[in-house]
Symmetry: C2
Subunit: 460 residues, 2 copies
């Protein structure tokens, strides 16, 4: 076989020890908070049946699904079909039955429906797993990335919205990242649609103003004009979504504008409840009402959230979520309201990396002690060296022996290079019939100690 120059698929990444340690630090921080708030873990398969996935993420989403080729008789199937398939989509559907997980919400809804008889509601679950999208890779956007979700289904209590906002606050406080938690309510958007042009235009308006950050007021206006919105309608829309002031003032003004929309007033009431009830944050997180926040996914029906980092160059969303009243309905279980949030691990990583907020002491799982001898390990009597190793490991101290040939004139040269590459902090230097030397590799300080003294030092 020809020797290939190996590579990995675009949009995917390898993670070395340092990156794994940093990613784990974020995952552990999020998980700890999820648990503190009473969420329990589930995991779903990497592959889902296409019938579970398609039609849930819009046409755009369907195009971004990675499909898995059935190993069976696909070729014969195609050949026998006399190739009467008309387009890419029909082709894909004819030869694949499975796809890679696209998000954690739809698999969760599928899980709830399949396990409805065993689950006691409200069901509070968290899930931290990778998802895949065949998107064009760019800065902050990968084809394989991790989501960390917490959802409650089977309860319409706003207590859960409060909990989820507090989870965002607490996680980003622990991570040291200043964030703005934007909040809006799809019922308010419904009210706005009603006032502007009619409730049936809710989705059109939501999709349009969702792009406000990207294409600006002008772009959104243009798009709406093309969709037969009049100048007055567009002006009314912008008049409302750009209301300024304190949260209380904004909601008061909106109340007047939406006075004829029962739905809109209900949404305002929900936000008022949240502002009234939530404890003030004692860190740099900000809860900010934003009437222009829409969130594309059409399944949201109540409060919606989006989190944006306040510092650094990456201003895109690092988390989001909201309430959905009938997500499990697509799988045949109606009347189950839910609310959930998601953390985007990879973007959070990029923000923390850019802002240099990772703790310096993150363990990469490296040894604490490297045992070195004054000669190559193959030339010396092994038993006493292995005994030292066992004593350290038996005390739970991660340790290893330098296993390679050394230069006897500079016996520490190679081992120290090795230790430094792994950030091993100490060397234990063994010479037959001589006291052990214990060397701090950061300071270079070296002293003669017994193995028991060394263990005592390291356990302090």
């Amino acid at each position: 076989m020809a020797k290939e120059k190996p590579s990995i698929p675009k949009g995917t990444r390898d993670f070395g020890p340092e990156e794994v340690a940093k990613r784990k630090y974020i995952l552990n921080t999020i998980e700890k908070v999820f648990i503190k708030y009473g969420f329990m873990p589930i995991e779903t398969p990497t592959m889902e049946n296409l019938s579970t996935l398609t039609g849930k993420y819009g046409d755009e989403g369907d195009k971004l699904l990675f499909r898995i080729l059935d190993s069976g008789e696909t070729f014969e199937k195609i050949r026998n079909s006399k190739f009467e398939i008309r387009n890419q989509n029909e082709f894909n559907n004819s030869i694949t039955e499975k796809g890679l997980r696209y998000d954690l919400t739809v698999p969760f809804a599928r899980y709830v429906v399949m396990n409805r008889n065993e689950i006691t509601f409200p069901f509070k679950r968290y899930q931290m797993q990778p998802v895949w999208r065949a998107d064009r890779p760019q800065k902050g956007r990968y084809r394989e990335f991790w989501q960390c979700d917490a959802d409650v289904v089977g309860s319409d209590s706003l207590l859960h919205e409060l909990d989820l906002i507090n989870i965002y606050n607490e996680v980003f406080k622990c991570l040291g990242v200043g964030v703005e938690i934007k909040i809006n309510n799809r019922k308010i958007l419904a009210g706005i649609a009603e006032v502007v042009k009619g409730i049936e235009h809710l989705n059109t308006i939501a999709v349009a103003i969702d792009k406000l950050d990207k294409i600006g007021k002008e772009g959104v206006s243009k798009e709406l004009t093309e969709l037969n919105f009049t100048e007055i309608e567009i002006a009314t829309l912008f008049d409302i979504i750009t209301i300024k002031g304190t949260e209380t003032e904004m909601l008061e003004v909106l109340k007047v504008k939406l006075q004829n929309s029962t739905e809109g007033l209900k949404g305002i009431e929900e936000l008022v409840f949240i502002y009234k009830t939530i404890q003030p944050f004692n860190n740099s997180a900000i809860l900010k009402t934003d009437f222009s926040l829409a969130r594309g996914l059409s399944y949201y029906t109540g409060c919606i959230f989006e989190v944006v980092a306040m510092e650094g160059s990456l201003r895109s969303s690092i988390g989001g979520g909201g309430r959905y009243d009938n997500l499990t309905g697509i799988f045949g279980l109606d009347g189950v309201s839910g609310v959930g949030i998601s953390f985007g691990l990879d973007r959070i990583y990029d923000v923390i990396e850019e802002l240099k907020l990772f703790p310096e002491t993150l363990s990469q799982g490296s040894s604490k002690v490297l045992i070195c001898a004054n000669d190559s390990i193959e030339n010396i009597e092994l038993a006493p060296v292995l005994q030292l190793l066992n004593k350290l490991r038996n005390e739970g101290i991660a340790s290893e022996i330098y296993s390679e040939k050394i230069n006897v004139k500079k016996p520490l040269e190679k081992p120290i290079k090795y230790a430094s590459s792994k950030a091993i902090p100490y060397a234990l230097i063994y010479t037959e019939n001589q006291p052990l030397k214990f060397k701090n590799l950061a300071t270079g300080f070296q002293e003669e100690l017994t193995i028991e003294e060394i263990i005592e030092r390291l356990q302090d």
Copy 2:
């Protein structure tokens, strides 16, 4: 859209909170030992280029690869090819460029080659990730399953074989599972091949005796006869691989039989070193020489291992590994010797489950305290209840409020059912203007305590 009855692809599984907790317990046990032995984590992408994967696992392996459909113009490509593709394999290759990770060894070799300039050797890495194989699902065999691997590359020191054996021993000691760690050496198998029929028959012999467990002596003999092995050759083979006795006796007998094979004697010498040097295990693990252990994969060149549980009905391998002298060679980096082992998470899980060895106290990440009120939460003044919740959470005590409507005549009925489903051990019962009641849900014992006293109790 029609409502579908949802399902998941065959050979895949959902994991609920209890299963996630049990899986994490195994993963954490393995990871802790890996770290103690100086291994550092890496993670590789779920998808690899097909050029990385194909040809590495034999023809049988290639057939079991899950391929990922490129989202691009595959249909047009097929159409334009005028459908001149002849068979399934050609078809698959023409429309896919990526596949799901099949094991952790090949991606690791790829990683080492791609990062050769940054890596200091010996490189000791561990990796715990799922892999996928389109195998026929059956008991103990899944299409998505996890491997936990530890490998050392860039060293040919037998110290690493010792470490890996000790890792197997320590992990299964921690898990309480009695195991037999079978050991053999491919150099011994080479010696046997030399003595039986010629070194060029090594792979044929390895593949045949690998099936001994499944098809028995008769089956293996039949297969070898069909491959033109004479009766005498087959008898010589079985004479050697069934040598019995203590490890020392077995190796002594073998030394005589392989006296004319330099390679074979080298293999014996390696096993002798391991037996001489390894500390005796102080638990139920057994290190057992087995000359019939072959391990199918042709890249092994030195010691090989296989771990089998000693109790329970699942007698298939729950781990295995060995030394390979040139795995990175396929990606263009020659002369790098490596040795590694793998743990099969899912089979280990099945064994521990069957033997009822999971600790009873495994945390599923559930709350410690459920706050209940004497009326539905929507009917009472929220502030004091939220204050209790915050006090508990601020002390790191996982807690939640029962958020649903209750039956005021039996105010604890629904909350206790909920708590019991989540294994929440305590309820805090709030009634306006009355002392708090703190109830142990296991014993039913209830007492009046202040929130500070409750926190003190829970922190003990």
